[in-house]
C-alpha cells in the first residue's frame, strides 16, 4: 500500500507541475500555428505571475488577480505582435526582448511597490485560488484503489487545474472544428493563400496572439497564486522554454501537447520525489543529477525519439505581400 500511495502522490504532483507547462504549451500552439514563433512565452508567464499576485494582494481578490494577469500578459503579446506582425521584425529577437523586459520590470516594480526584494506580499486566504473538493470525494476516500485515485488524484485541485485540462479539448475543437481555427492553421502554413482569399493576415495573427496572451496569463497566475503564495523573482524558471520543447515534441497538436506536458511534469515530480533516496542497484544518485534529468531527457527525446516534427511552414517568416 505504501508503494501505491507513493505512486498516487507522485502522479498528483505530476498534475500540479504540468499545469503551467500545459497552459504555456497551448499558448504557444495558438501563436505558432498562426505562423508566429513565440520564444517570449517565458516572459509573458512571468509578467502574468507578477500582475496576478500583485493585483490579488492589493485588491484582495483572486479573480481580480487572474484578470490582471491575463490583461498584462495579453498586452505583452500585443507588443510581440506589433513588432513582428505590423513591423515585420524578427520574431525571435522580439520574443527574447520580451523575456528581458519581463525579468527586469517585475523585479523593479515589485521592489518599488512592495519593498520586499522583488517579492509580492504573501497572499492571504481569499486572495489565492483554493483547492476544490469534488462532490463525493470524502465519502469514497476509504474505498480501496478507486477512493484514493478520486479523492487524492482527481479531487483537491484549484479551479485553474481543471481549466487547463479543459483547454485541451477546447483548443482541439477551436482549431479543427471552427472557421477561426481553419483560418488560423492556414495562416501558419501559407499566409498568401489567406490573403488572396480576402482575409486579413495581420488581424488573424493578432487574434492568435491574444489567445496566446490569455493562456500565458493564466499560466502565470497559476504559478504565483496557486503553486506559490505570491510572486518570487524569476519564478517561471525556464518553464516557457520547456513548454516550447513540449510543443515541438507534441508536433503542434493539442492532445499530444497534454501528454508531452504530463511527461515533463512527471519527470519533474519523480526527480523531486527521488532526491536523496537510494535507488535499487544504482544506489544513491546525486540530487543535481535528478534535477537535471528532465532536461537531459528533453534533449534526448527531441533529438531522436519523436520522428520528424514539421513546424507550420510559414512559422517565423513575416508576411510581405509579394509583387
Amino acid at each position: 500500500m505504501d508503494v501505491f500511495n507513493a505512486i498516487i502522490q507522485t502522479l498528483d504532483s505530476t498534475i500540479r507541475l504540468s499545469v503551467p507547462l500545459l497552459l504555456a504549451c497551448l499558448a504557444g500552439l495558438y501563436s505558432e500555428r498562426a505562423g508566429i514563433f513565440d520564444i517570449g512565452l517565458e516572459g509573458k508567464m512571468l509578467v502574468g505571475a507578477f500582475a496576478g499576485a500583485a493585483a490579488a494582494s492589493v485588491f484582495h481578490s483572486a479573480f481580480l488577480g487572474l484578470g490582471m494577469a491575463v490583461v498584462i500578459s495579453v498586452a505583452f503579446a500585443m507588443i510581440h505582435g506589433f513588432a513582428s506582425i505590423t513591423h515585420r521584425g524578427n520574431q525571435i529577437v522580439s520574443g527574447v526582448a520580451i523575456n528581458f523586459i519581463a525579468a527586469g520590470s517585475t523585479i523593479i516594480l515589485g521592489q518599488a511597490w512592495f519593498q520586499q526584494g522583488g517579492r509580492t506580499p504573501a497572499l492571504q486566504p481569499g486572495e489565492r485560488f483554493e483547492a476544490i473538493t469534488l462532490p463525493g470525494a470524502e465519502a469514497i476516500r476509504d474505498v480501496p484503489i478507486i477512493g484514493p485515485i478520486y479523492a487524492e488524484l482527481l479531487s483537491g485541485h484549484s479551479i485553474l487545474v481543471y481549466l487547463a485540462f479543459l483547454m485541451v479539448p477546447f483548443t482541439w475543437w477551436v482549431l479543427f472544428r471552427t472557421r477561426f481555427g481553419l483560418r488560423l492553421r492556414a495562416v501558419g502554413e501559407n499566409p498568401a493563400a489567406v490573403d488572396t482569399a480576402g482575409i486579413s493576415v495581420a488581424w488573424l495573427r493578432y487574434r492568435a496572439l491574444i489567445c496566446t496572451g490569455i493562456l500565458t496569463g493564466i499560466a502565470g497566475a497559476y504559478l504565483s497564486m496557486v503553486q506559490n503564495g505570491g510572486f518570487v523573482k524569476d519564478m517561471t524558471a525556464g518553464k516557457g522554454y520547456i513548454a516550447l520543447a513540449a510543443l515541438i515534441f507534441a508536433k503542434w497538436k493539442p492532445v499530444n501537447a497534454m501528454f508531452a506536458c504530463l511527461l515533463f511534469g512527471f519527470l519533474d515530480a519523480a526527480s523531486i520525489r527521488l532526491q536523496g533516496s537510494p535507488l535499487p542497484i544504482i544506489g544513491k544518485v546525486p540530487a543535481q543529477f535528478m534535477q537535471a534529468l528532465p532536461y537531459i531527457l528533453t534533449v534526448i527525446l527531441l533529438a531522436g525519439f519523436i520522428g520528424k516534427a514539421i513546424p507550420p511552414r510559414a512559422g517565423g517568416v513575416p508576411y510581405v505581400k509579394e509583387r
Partner: protein, 510 residues
Amino acid sequence: MAQAAIELIGINKSFGAVRANRDINLEIGRGTIHGIVGENGAGKSTLMSILYGFYQADSGEIRVGGQPASIKTPNDAIALGIGMVHQHFMLVDNFTVLENVILGAESDALLKKSIAKARSELERLEREYGLEVDPDAIIEELPVGLQQRVEILKALYRGAEILILDEPTGVLTPAEADHLFRILRQLKDQGKTVVLITHKLREIMAITDTVSVMRQGTMVATRETRKTTVEELAELMVGRRVLLRVEKGEAEAGAVKLAVKNLTVRDTRGVTMVDDISFDIRAGEIVGIAGVAGNGQSELLEAISGIRRAVSGSVMLDGKPIDLTGAADPGELRDRGLAHVPEDRHHVGLVLAFEENENSILGYHDDPRYLKGPFLNIDAIRNDARDKIAKYDIRPADCRLKTANFSGGNQQKIVLAREMEQDPGVLIVGQPTRGVDVGAIEFIHKRLIAMRDQGKAVLVVSVELDEIRSLSDRILVMFAGRIVGERGSEATEGELGLLMAGIEHQEAAL
C-alpha cells in the same frame, strides 16, 4: 463584339520609380477567352493584380459588366465575380481539397455545415465542368495539374464569372495543359469569361479568341487571334523581329568528347531514375534530350555533372574515365573542361542574395585570375563581370546589383556567361530557357549554336520540344529512365511526342 465583361480605362501604376502600368486601356468581351501576352516584367501580372484588388491603381477606372467598380481588396473582386488562379498556387499544402475550397468562403462559424455545403457544391461543379478531384485528398499528395484544378474550383465556388489565370501552364506537362484547355473551353461554353496570361505564344494561338500584347508597361496591341500570327505577336512583344527558330548550318561532328556507358542512377528515395543509359557526344554537335519532366533527365544531368552519385556505369571525358560512383566532385569536372548550367538556377546555379559579379565567378573563385594571394581580387572580378555583361547583353548592366533583382532571362544569362566563358570542351545545359523571355531565348540559342560551331560538345536537356528540335543535331528521347529512341533534327513533333509518351516503347516490348 459581345458585351464587355471588364473594361479598364487609363490604368496607371508605379512601384517607386518603376512604371509598371502606363495608361492601360483594355476591354474583355463577356464569354470569351482573352489572352494577354508580354515578356516578363511587361506589367501583365501587375495589371491583373490591380483587377483582383491585390494592388490599387494610381489612377484609372475599372468597369465590371458596364458598371464602375471600386476594387480595393480581393474580397471586392470576389464579390464582383472575379476569380484568380495564381502562378504560384495559393493553396495550403497540408489541408484537404475541401478545406482549401472553403477557406475564406465559409458559410458558418463552425466548419461542419460549410464542409457539407462545399461537398455538394463541388459535386455539381464536377458534373458541370468535368473538374474531377477527390474532395478529401490532401493537396501536397496531388499532382500539380490537380492542384491547379483545385484553384479553379476555389474560384468557381466563390461564384466567379470572370476567371484570370496567370501563367497556368508553366508547371504542367503537355497532357495536363491539354486537359486544362479543355476545361477552359467548357467554362467559356457555359458563359464564363477567361483571361489567360502567358508568354507562350502557341497557347495563345491554340485557345484564345482575342489577344492583347503588353510591352514595358504599355498595351501595344489587341488582335483577334485568328487574324494574327505567332510571328506578329512575337514582334509586338519584343518590339523587333524575332527568329523563333534559330538558323544553323550542318554539324561537323568530330571526336567523341563525352561517352556515357551503362549509367544507372537512383534518386534519394532509392528509385531507379536512370536505367542503364549509354550515349556519346562528339565535338561540334548538340545532342538534345527530350522527354516529359520526371523521366530521369534531372538525375542524368546531376550524375554527369558530379552533383549526384551514380550507382553504376562509366563516363569518359576526352577518353579518360571520371569516377561518378565514388565521391563525385563537380570542381574536378570543371577543371577538366566540363561546364554545367543547372536546370534550377535559383537553387543550384546562383546565390540570389549575392551581387552579380560574385555570381559570375561562383565555382571558379579559386582560379588564379580572380585571386591576389590568399584574397579575392575584387577589381579583376568586377572587370571580368563587366566584360561578361557587355558580351551577353545582361540587363541592367550593373555588376554590383543583387542577383535577385535581375529578371529570369538575365539570371540565366549570368549563369551561361559564367560557364561558357570558361571555354569548356563539354557544356551541359539543363532547361536553357525555362522562364526566359522570347527575345532572350533567341540570344541563348544563338550562343549555344556558336559554342557548337567552335567545336564544343553540347548536351541540352529540355522539356520544351520546340527548343530541342530547333537546337539539336541529334535527339535522344527519355522515357521512364531509359533512352527509347534516337532521331535526327528533322524528326516531327508527333513522332517525338509518341516516343515521349512511351507508346512506341511499349509496342516494341510487346
